[in-house]
């Protein structure tokens, strides 16, 4: 009976705090996406904006590690049984992907454009019994380019 109580407490805690954290994160993501929407980040290999000469380019990256809450983990475990889309992990990965791109953009606020944006995901799970960690890492990387006339003050070695 004790373990059932602990399980239910964990479930409720996971659900409540997971939901709170997710709501807060989404609000932050939306606000920052609006702020950074004018900085283009594309998967194209060539600049899509004007064809001004490029002053310099650099590799930029942003990454994030997000953990799943107990409730989502359990839901995914149950899904394992029947198959189908693991909806509980969708928001987790969506948040991680958007957060990683935001961090990438925030790392080069004066860039004119980010080219060749790539996103990679890896799961961080350690241990195979009892307290398995269910976390995901998303890494976004790309090439930030700076036009010569757009940011003449910006010069890096």
């Amino acid at each position: 009976m004790d373990s059932l109580t602990i399980f239910l407490i964990l479930l409720v805690l996971g659900f409540v705090f997971g939901k709170l954290a997710e709501g807060r994160h989404y609000r932050s993501i939306q606000a920052r996406e609006e702020m950074l929407v004018r900085l283009p980040a594309t998967s194209c290999k060539k600049p899509i904006g004007n064809s001004s000469p490029i002053g310099h380019a650099e590799l930029v990256h942003g990454h994030v590690v997000i953990s799943v809450d107990y409730f989502k983990q359990l839901l995914a475990g149950l899904r394992n049984f029947f198959g189908g889309t693991i909806q509980s992990y969708e928001t987790l990965l969506d948040r991680a992907r958007r957060e990683a791109v935001l961090r990438l953009k925030e790392s080069c606020p004066t860039a004119n454009e980010i080219l060749n944006l790539r996103i990679e995901t890896s799961s961080i799970s350690k241990g195979n019994s009892g307290d398995r960690i269910g976390s995901v890492e998303v890494l976004a990387y790309g090439t930030a380019i700076y036009y010569q006339q757009a940011s003449p003050q910006h010069s890096r070695p």
Binding site: V37, P40, L75, L78, F81, E90, E113
Partner: protein, 270 residues
């Protein structure tokens, strides 16, 4: 090609179904699967137990040493006397192997048959009974479980259940532990059919040993009166009266049918 700064109007990458609803749908599905599997494999266990001979059972459990750990055995004298009482049934009950009694210090009013020819008696049972006949009936009842091989059925079902729980919820999900602790051996129960069969065997053994069946219903009556007190204090949500009353009536009816007399009982001295 011009860049148009814009954000998507809505997020198509996440599902908007409510997760709590999904949780209840999934958990109901899993439980239905487990229940059906448990029922089907339970039938399989019954068939398998009928095929397993007593010699095979004895050989198997003599090699496997299971640490049941029910509690402390601190009353060697009483335990030896209980063993004597159990051995006294030998001429009346044909059991394929000797039964070892262990008396465990506990308030639980129960006794149980566990595989490997071991009978566990909780000392609470001795406190709840006042006659030797009443105690002997319970011992015979447990011997009846051995004779009808219910201990194997119970263990088989336990194994089936833990395997199912592991399949359904994964060995590391915590769910399996919960199921294992919920289905505690100490409180495990046989089905009513199994219990009444064991009652039947015990009644015949009691008649054979004492020449009458007085005291057969003693424990059930005691438990019933305890329940009534508890009900009076509004402690019990689920009254167990019908079950106990049914068992008492069944025993009385059976004794009448078989023509077993009811006589004075002997006081319990251990």
């Amino acid at each position: 090609m011009n860049y148009q700064p814009s954000l998507p109007e809505h997020n198509d990458n996440v599902s908007h179904q409510h997760p709590v609803r999904e949780f209840f749908v999934l958990i109901t599905g899993v439980l239905v699967f487990v229940l059906i599997g448990y029922w089907a494999l339970g039938l399989f266990v019954d068939v398998a137990v009928d095929y397993l001979s007593s010699e095979q059972e004895a050989t198997f459990f003599s090699k496997v040493d299971i640490n049941w750990d029910f509690g402390e055995e601190s009353m060697p004298e009483e335990q030896a006397k209980l063993q004597g009482l159990v051995d006294a049934f030998k001429p009346c009950l044909s059991l394929p192997y000797p039964i070892t009694v262990s008396l465990v210090n506990s308030e639980v009013v129960n006794a149980m048959a566990i595989p490997g020819g071991k009978m566990v008696v909780f000392s609470g049972l001795l406190d709840a009974l006042s006659s030797t006949n009443g105690l002997m009936f319970i011992l015979a009842h447990e011997l009846g479980h051995f004779k009808n091989r219910d201990h194997l059925r119970l263990m088989g079902r336990g194994i089936v259940l833990s395997i199912l729980a592991m399949l359904a919820f994964g060995g590391d999900s915590g769910f399996s532990d919960i199921l294992a602790s919920t289905i505690n051996l100490r409180t495990a129960k046989y089905s009513q059919t199994r219990e009444s069969q064991a009652d039947h065997t015990a009644l015949q053994a009691l008649q054979c040993h004492f020449g009458h069946v007085g005291g057969a219903t003693e424990l059930f009556k005691t438990l019933q009166s305890q329940d009534e007190e508890a009900d009076f204090e509004m402690l019990h949500y689920f009254s167990t009266h019908p079950e106990l009353q049914q068992r008492i009536e069944d025993l009385n009816q059976l004794a009448q049918e078989l023509g077993f007399p009811v006589q004075e009982t002997k006081d319990l001295v251990l």
